[in-house]
């Protein structure tokens, strides 16, 4: 597998990892996919943060590893072999315990991988342990104890307690009447500069400076003007108003972020499984959420607000390309009169695929991050068609879906807000080098969601089944 080593000065990291991983043998099969490679989540949750630690070991970071460090990387994985084998064995036991307990919620890899790694370090290989099954069972119990309906119930009881609702409503009123008046400022050129480099060479000093100078707060100044926040898709109202306390919430019908009650805001975060242990207790969550709702962008941290400003700028104008550009683009491909399908003409799908935006810093009109998002968005038209999904311009596609396909900025901003909100609740900071992944990941998630919805239209309407 590594016979290509001598040919180049650097080796794909994935190849080195695959090679070292294969030497660990069947013992790590539960952490491997059907091709014998470490699962994507094995890399994300175990190998990267716990074994290779590219943040501490820059020589192991990036897509390629210099020849000089190849042996060190391989050795790091081989050294972790016994721990990984034990982790794999624990994972099998924990899955069995989960099955026995009848638990189906949450993603087993997300929930248990790191727990199993801990168990491996505490107890070693479970095979030699008489009470291993018991330990696995209590691990599962522990992971799920503070999850699910228990917490949502507690939240609901707290918010609907008649002794408390008046006080909490008063807190909302106070927080909203004492909102600082918006400080309007000229757009900070730092935002554009950061968007130009965030995908390739994010500047941590600029990232810090943007937050230190409250650039995100300044960018929120116009949100109270009629039509601005609704233009970004963050509210259905003409301008944001103070949230209700709320009594119930349903994941299916969450209003737009600024229209969500306090209950709905916290509920959305409570029903994501990952790392709930990092969240505060219910009373401080509620009071924190009330304060947050009155803050710029309705987010508590300046870093989040800067990200909303960056997301707003990067996602503006995606409507001009992509699946829903209307007119001839709508009937793309189905009609032989439409754009040439052989990929010859400039209107051909191939053109959208290979990039219409000008990537690379220095282009005058739009930022590099915008150009990259635009390229992703433009590709989707071709992919949608190749996958045989309904054309969003078809007459019976639901109007809200069509609107979002024509201009994804609304769903983009909503999803970005929700992710930042979740990060705040879990007290997760965002580094300069994570910004692009976050923005790109949000658009990807919007696209996947649209595909799922289009697929449901196809399947509901009686496609082959």
């Amino acid at each position: 597998m590594v016979h290509g080593l001598a040919a180049s000065a650097a080796v794909p990291r994935g190849m080195l990892v695959a090679d070292a991983w294969s030497q660990l043998g069947d013992a790590v099969a539960p952490l491997s996919n059907a091709s014998g490679r470490p699962l994507a989540r094995t890399v994300k949750l175990l190998l990267d943060p716990l074994v290779l630690r590219p943040a501490q070991n820059p020589r192991f970071s990036g897509g390629v590893v210099a020849i000089a460090h190849v042996d060190a990387l391989r050795q790091a994985i081989l050294d972790a072999g016994p721990a990984l084998a034990a982790t794999a064995a624990w994972f099998q036991l924990v899955k069995r315990a989960r099955r026995r307990a009848g638990i189906t919620e949450g993603h087993p890899q997300d929930l248990y991988f790191q727990r199993c790694y801990e168990l491996a370090h505490l107890h070693g290989d479970p095979g030699a342990l008489p009470d291993a099954a018991q330990i696995a069972a209590s691990t599962v119990e522990d992971v799920h104890a503070e999850r699910g309906e228990v917490s949502v119930d507690r939240l609901r009881r707290f918010l609907t307690d008649p002794d408390r609702t008046a006080e909490l409503a008063g807190m909302i009123h106070d927080a909203w009447t004492h909102r600082p008046s918006p400080m309007r400022a000229d757009p900070d050129p730092g935002l554009r500069a950061f968007l130009d480099d965030c995908a390739t060479a994010p500047d941590p000093r600029l990232w810090k400076a943007l937050a230190d100078t409250a650039t995100g707060t300044a960018a929120a100044a116009d949100l109270d003007r009629p039509g601005v926040a609704s233009g970004y898709g963050l509210t259905a109202r003409d301008r944001p108003t103070a949230p209700e306390l709320g009594e119930r919430a349903s994941k299916r019908a969450l209003p737009r972020p600024f229209d969500r009650s306090i209950m709905e805001r916290l509920f959305a975060a409570f029903t994501t499984w990952f790392q709930r242990e990092a969240m505060a207790d219910v009373p401080s969550l509620v009071t924190g959420e009330i304060q947050r709702s009155a803050a710029p962008w309705q987010l508590g941290r300046e870093q989040s607000r800067v990200l909303m400003a960056l997301g707003r700028d990067a996602s503006a104008g995606l409507a001009s390309a992509g699946t829903g550009s209307g007119g001839g683009a709508g009937s793309f491909g189905h009609d032989a009169d439409g754009p040439g399908l052989a990929g010859a003409g400039s209107d051909a799908p191939g053109a959208a695929l290979t990039g219409t935006g000008s990537t690379g810093a220095g282009s005058a009109g739009t930022s590099d991050a915008h150009a990259r998002l635009l390229n992703r968005w433009s590709r989707e038209k071709y992919v949608n068609f190749a996958l045989g999904l309904p054309d969003p311009e078809a007459p019976e596609i639901p109007a809200d879906l069509l609107r979002e396909v024509r201009d994804p900025q609304g769903p983009f901003m909503r999803r970005l807000w929700a992710r930042l909100h979740g990060r705040e609740l879990r007290a997760e900071a965002t580094g300069a080098d994570e910004v692009w992944d976050l923005l790109d990941g949000v658009l990807r998630s919007v696209i996947m969601d649209q595909r799922d919805r289009l697929r449901r239209v196809l399947e509901r309407a009686g496609g082959p089944s």
Binding site: G14, N33, A34, R37, V64, L353, T354, A386, G388
Partner: protein
Amino acid sequence: MTGFAVDRTGPALVVGGPAPDPRLTGLVEGRGALLLWNLAAPQPHPAAIVWDPALATEWLWEVYGPDTAAAVLDGPDTVATAWESPVLDAARDLALLRWAEAWWPASYAAAVPALPRALLLAETTWCTARVEHLLEDEEAVERALSRVDLGALAPLRSNPGVDTEIADLSERLGDLAESYGVVLRAEAPARREDWALAAGGPAPGDLTVSGGTVAVDARFTPRGLVDAESDAAWTLVQRSGAWLLTLTVPAAPDAADAVLTARFAGLDVPLRLDANGAFTGETEAPLDVVTRLAAETRVLVHAPWFAPVPPEPGPDDPQWRAAALAFARARLASPDATLTERAARS
């Protein structure tokens, strides 16, 4: 050996020339690169659009081999590879299965059997799991698992020749689902009788005035509903003093019912699947339709939830359909046919 030109002039790195016709393209969406198999000219290795080389470099060697992958990312303007690997095979199978889900040209007239859909979704899921480490969608396996229905897979297990493989696949998917926290569906398969409607077409007592057959243009419907290779039959009848145009459009093998509309001689005719395996419908026809009928050469069938129909649709392009049929036939006969394809032919 597969050879490719590499174009490094644009914002994305293009391996293997402009993207092929999407109706004849097998796709795999990798992290930082899109892999495209042009099914009109099948090759073992895909063309690619590499839009983020830093991401793609981690896994592109799995597809092209280490040397060629390095050359693609930073080397001459033509590359070639003879790389073989199980991961490449899985990626190609995934691309072909996803194409088949969208475009498989099942047709009685062309003697192309339908692919068993439940098996197709199951095998797609397994191929997805085999390449999950290079896919861009972090939830690709979960998404695929959510479409698997073990109940619909069960009847296929009586198919000798593939029965043990299907049983084995079901078991592997069960384990996979457990590792991803997905509860697999296992619904009792719907029987055809459950939804079949009465036979359509002219009714007893109708006075047939004229009739004929025309080609079917099914560009604006999803694949697998109507048999695009068959001719449709129309009749103009008189019933209770009214003129009615009836249409009978042969359904594709194993088609499910769907609400379709046929545009014919300036009229829109609603179609439903009938008990005889045809999409049929009728509409009242104005008298002057008689003069137009003789000149009609095609009926345009469309699904209003699938595609918009331009006011003046151009002629269908028969080339891609011929290419799709040729490819499907070659797949059915191929020694490396997927389990789904082998189940369809047996």
